[in-house]
């Protein structure tokens, strides 16, 4: 019996119209979750460097819990587990966004902490010596510099989170992988379709990389 491995380009191209509708969902979950995760990250990242111990420990617990458990478990917990507590179902899209938010929030809070702590002590001393309050020193001097240093790590986290959304096919949200799976179920062209799915992730993450590199370059010019 002769076995031939053939990549069927027409099957690959043919899947595109079925995959494309998944892209907005992938983007919505990723960037919706990351936007919320960014604020969670700033909140806990700043708590983490507070001089007060009782403000620091909730941040430590948060990071350990959400960085230390798999995002797949987190989204299953939110989508299947939480409804038992809430007494009603949770929309799969909301569950996906929430999972990205709490998960990326844990990593981003570490990025924020590292960024702020990397700013030399002399910067805040100079600000305070000029009469700026601690809040003003943070807002006008520390944060703008810290944020610039955080950009590469934030970009990295964004790319990781975009790829993490592929796991959410398990809760049935119609993102890229889910769209691919549905299509494969009728055509049995797994090789071609997953290849196209991979290409689409690559198109998204590559575009983001290019944008980030420009942002970094502009940041460094200042």
């Amino acid at each position: 019996m002769e076995v031939t491995f053939q990549f069927d380009w027409s099957a690959a191209f043919g899947s595109i119209p079925y995959l494309l509708p998944g892209i907005p969902w992938t983007l919505l979950i990723s960037f919706g979750g990351l936007a919320i995760g960014f604020f969670i990250g700033i909140f806990f990242g700043l708590l983490r460097i507070s001089p007060l111990r009782w403000l620091r420990w909730p941040a430590i617990v948060y990071v350990e819990v959400f960085r230390g458990t798999p995002i797949l478990v987190q989204v299953l917990f939110i989508f299947y587990g939480l409804p038992q507590l809430l007494g009603g179902p949770i929309n799969a899209l909301v569950a996906g966004i929430a999972a990205i938010a709490v998960n990326s929030g844990a990593y981003i809070s570490e990025i924020v902490r590292g960024g702020v702590q990397s700013i030399e002590r002399g910067q805040s001393e100079a600000s305070l010596s000029l009469g700026l309050s601690r809040t003003q020193a943070f807002r006008y001097v520390i944060w703008p510099q810290a944020f610039r240093r955080m950009i590469p790590a934030l970009g990295n986290q964004s790319i990781i989170s975009i790829k993490d959304t592929s796991l959410f096919s398990v809760i049935g949200v119609g993102e890229l992988v889910r769209q691919g799976q549905i299509y494969i179920a009728t055509t049995f062209t797994a090789l071609e379709v997953y290849f196209m799915v991979a290409l689409m992730y690559l198109a998204i993450t590559w575009t983001l990389s290019i944008l980030l590199r420009q942002l970094e370059r502009r940041g460094l010019a200042g």
Binding site: Q123, E125, A126, L132, Q136, Q145
Partner: protein, 252 residues
């Protein structure tokens, strides 16, 4: 100096510890308006810590400290006074500490706008005047990293002066500079002293100290070992520690 002028800084029995280390030991120090005080001493003697106590960048554990009629309490427990003092006391640091993300002009205008509430136009015109005075008006739109060390330190001086301080602290302002740039910074400080600014300067520039200081203080192991007019302290030091310190630093 007139003995009846009320001091702008009054330090009494000030003590500071870093763990087991007694960094400042019962310091008594009065500084009157218009006075230029230079503090000398070996590294680790506590001279930087001493001036950093004056604007509350360092906490102390006991003693009295009144700066410009605001009282600073031990352990930094005086937030309001601290804020008041810092708006009236300027400081120039060894490492310049310019804000690298802001242009030279924005470095100088930030505090007057945010703390004093000056309009942008007023802040800019006063900043331009100050930058002109320290000889770098033409660099106003550049970022600090594009300036030489000497230029950066002069911007730092202009930045502090923009708050119109009543007292200026200098923490080894020329120690991080290449030798050929020390002169331009000392010149700017000399000008300031001539204009009557009250200055407390920690430095290793003994020639400058002799020329500009009204009083030189020698600190040894956290204590004021000896103080007096520069001629007296440099030419006829009484304390054996002062003699050996001066012998070491004046040799080269």
């Amino acid at each position: 100096m007139n003995d009846t002028t009320p001091p702008i800084v009054r330090m009494q029995q000030l003590n500071k510890h870093f763990g087991n280390l007694h960094v400042l030991n019962n310091i008594d120090l009065d500084i009157v308006p218009g006075e230029v005080v230079v503090i000398i001493g070996a590294s680790g003697s506590g001279k930087s810590t001493l001036i950093r106590c004056i604007n509350g960048l360092e906490e102390f554990q006991s003693g009295n400290l009144v700066v410009d009629s605001s009282e600073l309490l031990p352990y930094g427990k005086s937030t309001q006074a601290l804020q008041t003092i810092r708006t009236e006391v300027g400081m120039v640091f060894q490492q310049f500490n310019l804000f690298p993300h802001l242009s030279v002009l924005d470095n100088v205008t930030l505090a007057p706008m945010k703390v004093r509430g000056l309009s942008r136009d007023d802040a800019i015109s006063s900043a331009t005047r100050l930058l002109d005075r320290v000889g770098i008006a033409d660099q106003a739109d550049k970022y600090p990293s594009h300036l030489s060390g000497g230029q950066q330190q002069r911007v730092a001086l202009a930045r502090a002066l923009a708050m119109e301080p009543r007292l200026m602290l200098f923490d080894e302002p020329t120690s991080a500079l290449d030798p050929e740039m020390i002169g331009e910074v000392l010149d700017a400080m000399r000008e300031l002293a001539k204009e009557g600014m009250t200055m407390v300067i920690v430095t290793h520039e003994m020639g400058f100290a002799r020329e500009v200081a009204d009083r030189v203080i020698f600190i040894h192991k956290g204590e004021i070992a000896e103080q007096g007019p520069p001629e007296k302290l440099f030419d006829t030091p009484q304390h054996e520690r002062t003699q050996s310190f001066l012998a070491r630093v004046l040799k080269h």
